[in-house]
Amino acid sequence: MSQRDIKRLTLFLLFAPFALWILLLIVLPHIGMGYLALREKIGPRQYEFGFGNFVEFAMEPIYWNTLLRTGSMSLLVTALALIVGFPIAYYIAKIANYRTRGAMFLLCLIPLWVSDLIRAFGWILLLRETGVISSSLQAIGLIDAPVELLYNDVTVVIGLVYTVMLFMIVPLVSTLDGMDNSMIEAGYNLGGSGLTVLRRIIIPYAMPGIVSGCIIVFMLTAGSYLTPILLGGKNSSWFTEMIYEQFITRYNWEAGATFGFLLLAFTSLVVWLGLKLSRQTLAGTVARS
């Protein structure tokens, strides 16, 4: 065996687990789902090939309204996570000293050590009518009747922002980290105000981080299930909930698979639009971090 063959073999072996992972757990299931989505049910144990499931989605306002709702709320969550996360990331990357940095990263990380479910229950305990916030507000006399903070869209947005925050902060920190402090100093030396420096120097430099953070956060939010279900109220439907309902409650795997593909297509479209508008590329953002 020549040196080159050994090199090739090593590469192949190293690559094999990843290739198997992609093939067995991503590609194959999607082919199966695609097959299901293109199958129309006619009667018990009778199926026909066609696009009926997609037509049904298009004809039923409830479905696409929910998809649009999920999309717009996910965009809102992404924007809020960016607004909240950027100052934190900037502080960690540029202002904090070495030890504070570690501590702050740890603080961001700790919530992730607890399962999604427990975190959602935490919010429920805080926000419910007889919960911590409502009763403390009553105790200090700010309100005189219990107030219900749970079961509405605002709660869902808060819960989601909290869940995804770390995924916004990490790419931002790693981009801002690479920025030379002298660039900021130069900005001030040339007479720029704080706002100008932020707008013309820091943000353009951090753009790849901002975009990659936004992509990750948006995808996570649009595909989340637990938080919207547990914190949402009687009017808040989330698209993933609909997919679950189709698969499990209604035994309608065909429609469920169709919805899954539509969600994938929709989020991909939004990400593509975002990349176009911010003049970034996938290779320069997510792949970089």
């Binding site: 687990p17 992972w21 757990l25 009667g43 018990p44 144990r45 409830i62 309204n65 929910t66 429920i124 419910r128 009518e129 007889t130 219900e148 749970l150 079961y151 279900i229 547990l230 109220g233 009687k234 009017n235 439907s237 609909m242 309902e245 189709q246 698969f247 499990i248 409650t249 209604r250 035994y251 309608n252 971090s289």
Partner: protein
């Protein structure tokens, strides 16, 4: 990204574990149960394994819909005994062929309450073959806090404006059926004529959309319902009787209220998945858990009543008190047993529920 790598690592570790495990237990036969949360208490499993040391019991907890989805995904493989409700056998078998017929000679049928056994047999007979026998039964109905909602009597009261923002329900088929009964319809009779059933459903949907404003939140499981009720955030709700009985032991003001039109009764069954591999062990389990002393343990854990003759007498004391506070003999005679769900109805009901959830009118 490290996050992805971590998941990959964990998943492959789990995969290796799953491959390695069956080899370790070559000797013993395994009974793989697919059942409800409280239907296989640890104590019962221990006693079973003491009596049959060569059988290992593995339990997967689930609910009706997920049981069918799991069996459907594998064509009925992966489990040796399942416990869906009696109305979930017929259509699921016709559509997906996931169960296999039972050999009743292997079960001691003489101990069963005849009404329940015959009912389940009638519901689950396909081409002359019986697919299920009953295990436990219970009801869905209402519960109310007597001190705050003393006049609570029927499904319709959930929409009574005097309890505005103080009631709850689960957005599943039970509330559709209950509301239909409260409006004077008989949805089970309409199962035979799906156009008529759709007309009833449309009326029910309008009613429940109008009612949305009255509802504080839709509950999703026994835990959040208990929290809502115990904290006093709601005064009345649609409920499973077992949840109401549990709450009664913590706050005797909370009682189960059989609706005036009759509580809706379900029977959970024993059913064999089509590709089950341990039928003998499954029959042993069925006969084992129907013994009086095991029935007591089971009822204490689940709150359901055994399908054994005299099953109500085998309820633990606190549950018996709760049942007696809730049901008169008249209420028992008034029970509405869930009728078989014919193919297609799930889809109609699912659409109806989606409409209610998506409506913003309330």
């Amino acid at each position: 990204m490290t996050y992805g790598k971590m998941t990959a690592l964990m998943a492959s570790a789990a995969f290796l574990g799953a491959v390695a495990l069956p080899g370790a237990a070559v000797q013993a036969e395994t009974l793989r149960l697919l059942t409800w949360g409280s239907y296989a208490p640890e104590e019962v499993i221990q006693k079973f394994e003491e009596k049959y040391p060569d059988i290992d019991v593995e339990v997967t907890f689930s609910n009706n819909e997920e049981m069918i989805a799991k069996l459907r995904a594998t064509g009925g493989a992966g489990f040796d005994l399942a416990q869906p409700s009696h109305d979930r056998i017929y259509a699921a078998q016709l559509e997906y062929n996931i169960y296999k017929p039972m050999d009743l000679s292997k079960i001691d049928t003489s101990i069963y309450e005849e009404k329940l056994l015959d009912g389940v047999k009638a519901n689950t007979t396909i081409d002359g073959e019986v697919y299920s026998v009953p295990h436990q039964w219970g009801t869905s109905g209402l519960m109310a806090d007597k001190t705050k909602a003393p006049d609570f009597k029927g499904w319709g009261d959930l929409c009574d404006p005097q309890y505005k923002g103080r009631t709850s329900m689960r957005l599943k088929r039970t509330i559709l059926l209950g509301t239909a009964f409260a409006m004077g319809e008989d949805p089970f009779a309409a199962y035979a004529d799906l156009d008529k059933y759709q007309a009833i459903l449309d009326k029910v949907v309008d009613k429940l959309i109008e009612c949305k404003d009255n509802v504080k939140a839709y509950w999703k499981g026994g835990d959040d319902l208990s929290a809502l009720m115990l904290s006093g955030e709601i005064v009345a709700s649609e409920t499973w009787d077992s949840t109401a009985f549990r709450l009664y032991s913590q706050n005797p003001n909370i009682v189960f209220v059989p609706p005036a039109t009759g509580a809706l009764a379900w029977i959970d069954t024993f059913t064999l998945p089509r590709k089950g591999e341990a039928d003998d062990a499954a029959y042993k389990w069925i006969n084992f858990v129907m013994q009086p002393e095991i029935v007591e343990l089971m009822s204490a854990s689940s709150g359901g009543t055994s399908a054994r003759k005299g099953g109500r007498d085998l309820l633990p004391a606190d549950k018996k008190a709760a049942v007696n506070a809730a049901f008169t003999d008249e209420d028992i005679a008034n029970l509405q047993f869930f009728a078989n769900i014919p193919p297609g109805v799930e889809d109609m009901e699912g659409k109806a529920l989606e409409k209610i959830k998506a409506a913003t009118g309330g």
